[in-house]
């Protein structure tokens, strides 16, 4: 169980797929103009990640090495299609916003990457943790980015049809935030921030290690 929690936390912080590993960027930047869309995208990715991780971990003993990529990718594609169909049927408004990006979950490097790097070598139980951790790590970043872009780019923040926050009337939302260049620049700043944070943590660790040494 301890191991399980460790794997779960890994996805959230140390190996966060977006800010640390920098994979799965396409959908992150494109979908993060609306909080609601980003949220459901995250849910979709978590579902696909967990299910495909579980299945791949389960069949890993019976998979010949030469055809493992086709097998993984069919499994992943099937779950993606399920998300695609279910969302189309039950969440049409979300689907009309996300539609394009759902099929691209298949080629989202996070999913195949985790299948190869983790699920293929680990047990079903741990793979679940990895799927949830990685998926949550993705969702947190993408939803945060979306909330920021929606609030400051369009002047109000909506979720499931309810308006959560509205900027005061004198605020004139800059369009650039909703456009592609804004997404790139904003994401660049986010990475700069997270790098600075990591550096500070590393420096602190080093200082701590040094003081320990002295004490010894």
């Amino acid at each position: 169980m301890k191991e399980w929690m460790r794997v779960l936390r890994n996805g959230l912080s140390l190996e966060n797929p977006l800010t640390v590993l920098m994979i799965g960027l396409c959908s992150t930047l494109a979908v993060s103009t609306k909080l609601e869309g980003a949220f459901f995208m995250g849910i979709g990715v978590i579902f696909v990640l967990v299910m495909s991780n579980v299945l791949i971990a389960a069949v890993r003993k019976f998979t010949p090495d030469e055809v493992r990529i086709p097998i993984f990718i069919v499994i992943i594609a099937s779950f993606v299609t399920i998300v695609d169909l279910v969302m189309k049927a039950y969440l049409p408004s979300v689907y009309s916003f996300l539609g394009v990006w759902i099929p691209l979950i298949v080629v989202n490097c996070i999913v195949l990457g985790r299948a190869e790097a983790f699920a293929y070598h680990n047990t079903v139980w741990l793979s679940v943790a990895d799927g949830i951790g990685m998926g949550l790590g993705y969702t947190v970043i993408i939803a945060g980015l979306a909330a920021f872009r929606e609030l400051f780019g369009s002047g109000q923040l909506q979720f499931l049809g309810a308006t959560l926050v509205t900027m005061p009337a004198f605020y004139r939302p800059p369009n650039i935030l909703l456009l592609f260049p804004g997404a790139f620049i904003l994401f660049g700043l986010i990475i700069a921030g997270s790098q600075a944070l990591n550096r500070r943590i590393a420096a602190k660790d080093a200082a701590q290690a040094a003081s320990l040494k002295e004490a010894v």
């Binding site: 103009t33 998979t63 010949p64 055809v67 097998i71 169909l85 189309k88 369009n175 909703l178």
Partner: protein, 201 residues
């Protein structure tokens, strides 16, 4: 030799069969729901442009293939997504609902256009599009623009929309929408007008 084929083929085959079966089941379960959503979305935008009509009957893609062919030809480079007879409560035809998709800045703009039996546009609305937020979206957010198409005479075909100005800052998008209405007008004058009368009732 054969063993290699079996060793590689069987796992792939099994995975494919299971995956396809699973997807088939999911598709069968969601198919009706998706079709209903689709119909609902279409009907919703059609009701906006032709409020008088109680029901819409789509021209069958197989039975009326000729009509669709002619309509596509009349629409030039605007995609024709569907042609609907608009019926009132008694089943009498009050006009036509047309679903067209002209090209805007960010890809096709799916829109609905209503035309009444006098050849006047009753309204135009946008069902979905991918225009730039804040710029191309002005075709919707500028509230007084789309209603300007109402009452437009369709007799001049694609030229009918000439007198509607495009929106500054959303030139491509508004030109696309204009083109969509123009195509609908052309389809009506060239094709649908002659189909009116008894057949709808």
């Amino acid at each position: 030799m054969l063993r290699l084929y079996m060793r590689l083929g069987i796992p792939v085959l099994v995975v494919c069969i299971v995956a396809a079966a699973g997807l088939g089941v999911t598709y069968a379960m969601t198919k009706d729901k998706i079709a209903a959503q689709d119909r609902e979305a279409k009907a919703k935008s059609l009701r906006i442009v032709l409020g008088r009509a109680k029901s819409f009957v789509e021209l069958d893609a197989k039975k009326d293939a000729v009509v669709y062919e002619k309509a596509t030809a009349a629409a030039v480079d605007v995609r024709v997504d569907g042609l609907f007879r608009a019926l009132d409560g008694t089943g009498a035809q009050v006009g036509w609902g047309l679903l067209v998709a002209p090209r805007g800045y960010g890809g096709p703009i799916s829109m609905a256009v209503g035309v009444d039996r006098n050849g006047k546009v009753t309204g135009a609305t946008i069902a979905s599009m991918n225009e730039t937020p804040g710029l191309g979206t002005k075709v919707i957010t500028q509230k007084d623009w789309l209603p300007r198409f109402s009452g437009l005479d369709t007799s001049a075909g694609t030229e009918s929309v000439r007198k509607i100005d495009t929106i500054m800052g959303a030139t491509k998008s508004s030109r696309g929408v204009r083109k969509g209405v123009g195509a609908a007008a052309a389809i009506y004058t060239d094709v649908l007008k002659s189909l009116e009368g008894g057949s709808g009732q």
